[in-house]
Symmetry: C2
């Protein structure tokens, strides 16, 4: 079953979640795992830091003066709070574009206050509220800079998406022709590949010395630095990605993907970690990531204490009382070295 | 793994869900199953029809002139739409009580229009919006009728909950002392017992001839009739329980429980069905129930056609386009007869 976390009510398991973990070093060695470390996995938004690299390598970031906060937002699944939205508008303005160019669609944002304001003012949700609007603003800016079609930047055959697919293959070290493609929630290509290769890409983000050519390596370093310098742009206040990167003060890069994927880059040890909850349940994902870090002794000297609210969160009833708990329940296995 | 349903993106599985099914007849014989039909399971709101029986057996329904719609609402996990709320208020008024007596807490209701109206008018969510407020109104009315304490009607030691625990043991044919108790989302006791026994209780609801004494049998028949006569009170417009009971025109009683439990009573064949998705994901539950019915050839002559939107629902992206699909993927197994 590969049970990775249980949801308790009272003293008894009510529901349980299976999952998979791959811990990979920069040389592409599997170091630890749980479940199936090669599970074929749509990376979803854990791909955003990779999708953002061409924003730099094409010269787009320089052309439109994108700073660290802008680049972090290109890598982010943001909460749609006023700062996120203002920055997306500003990136579009610098690229000479308006919100209507965004092909991401929209959804109820995590920032409840912003959503309630819309309802009170009887205004519709618009694409800027999509958690992916920063990524899309980066794609639009790239197409503008490169003189490419703006109406189709989200489609697989467009140069924006072709550059990204090349970069995914390069960063994950997985053959481009073996990457299968679906359509993501925000209408761009979603890349499916083994969990191991998602972890490897994050190991390379953690220890970019292995990335070549040099201008790609430098872009990857800028992306990594932008995310740890501006963690609120990657998610939002009170959310795991933001809290994780703040707690580790630059050591760790963390990114959520839909359907409960999570990737971590540990810049101190040069490790990449990828987690997939089999059923796609985000509710146990952060508890599992915290437990992976604990078992690897990453942050056990203090940083994980600052993430304690994610370690074994209460299940609460509708009166706000604790009636159960979410608990991680797995042990990483040491991978055997190939001879 | 007991995979019961897969979530596809493009042509590939993105996430998968495990689960369990028990199909039991009124004599308590397991007829078909999938996964572990004895999985220990908190019934959550599938217990509501059983929890409502004492509203009748105590004379409360007669005292306060509760009609079929009221009784269906006592069994319901309603959407919090204006009709549901008005009826809860009216039940409380007849029992001489006000909303503040309800101990269910509250949550965002499924009826988005009602919720948005609250936000526009800057009013708080109150207990009547809880999907359990009908059940709680029935419990309060029972305590009033019996002259019992009103502040503690939700606690395990209160006579209201003691009568319910007796009725759960009686209807499920599971020893009262082996039922373990948690606290439900709405603060009343949550009963945990084997999935098989949840199915058996629904078989008895489907074919009440096996229930004794006669006044309990008559109450069970009234509950079953109320639910099929007033399916909108059991859930709400556009929801599975309501659509299922309408599609079958009185043959089928169906009830959702939190953490992805579902029970069905088939009054034609005298069968009870209980389903639990291991990870608690409601998103695949109705697809699985439809597939159980199809494999049992219940409704294959037409009723299931009217539930087609639940059979293999699209996964849509944020622009509303289909990018995947949810599919049931299991075969019920015939249980061996005990010799």
């Amino acid at each position: 079953m590969n049970i990775i976390a249980n949801v308790y009510r009272g003293g008894a398991v009510e529901s349980s979640h299976s999952g998979h973990v791959a811990v990979v070093d920069v040389e592409g060695r599997l170091r630890y795992f749980y479940g199936d470390p090669y599970r074929m996995t749509y990376g979803r938004s854990v791909m955003k830091p990779i999708q953002a690299i061409p924003v730099i390598t094409t010269g787009t970031a320089e052309r439109f003066a994108l700073d660290e906060a802008d680049l972090a937002l290109c890598c982010g699944s943001h909460s749609g709070d006023p700062r996120h939205r203002a920055r997306v508008y500003d990136m579009l303005r610098r690229a000479g574009q308006k919100e209507a160019v965004l092909q991401c669609g929209t959804h109820v944002p995590r920032d409840t206050e912003s959503y309630h304001r819309l309802i009170r003012e009887q205004k519709p949700l618009t694409p800027v509220y999509s958690n992916c609007s920063g990524k899309h603003a980066g794609m639009v800016a790239t197409a503008v800079h490169m003189g490419e079609d703006l109406a189709t930047y989200h489609l697989l055959d467009h140069p924006v998406q072709r550059r990204i697919l090349d970069m995914v293959a390069e960063m994950t070290r997985y053959p481009r022709k073996r990457i299968s493609i679906g359509v993501d929630g925000c209408s761009v290509p979603a890349h499916r590949l083994p969990l191991f290769h998602l972890a490897w890409a994050y190991a390379r983000l953690a220890a970019p010395r292995s990335i070549s050519p040099g201008y790609v390596r430098e872009a990857a370093v800028r992306i990594a630095n932008a995310m740890t310098a501006q963690p609120e742009m990657v998610a939002g206040r009170g959310r795991y990605c933001t809290d994780l990167m703040e707690a580790f003060g630059g050591r760790i890069i963390g990114k959520l993907g839909a359907e409960a994927v999570y990737c971590v880059a540990d810049r101190e040890w040069g490790l990449g970690i990828a987690v997939k909850i089999e059923d796609g349940a985000e509710r146990v994902l952060y508890t599992v990531v915290n437990e992976v870090l604990r078992q690897l002794r990453i942050g056990t000297d203090g940083a994980l204490d600052r993430l304690a609210k994610y370690t074994a969160p209460d299940v609460k009833n509708m009166s706000g009382k604790a009636v159960g708990q979410i608990q991680a329940d797995f042990m990483l296995r040491l991978a055997e070295r190939k001879r």
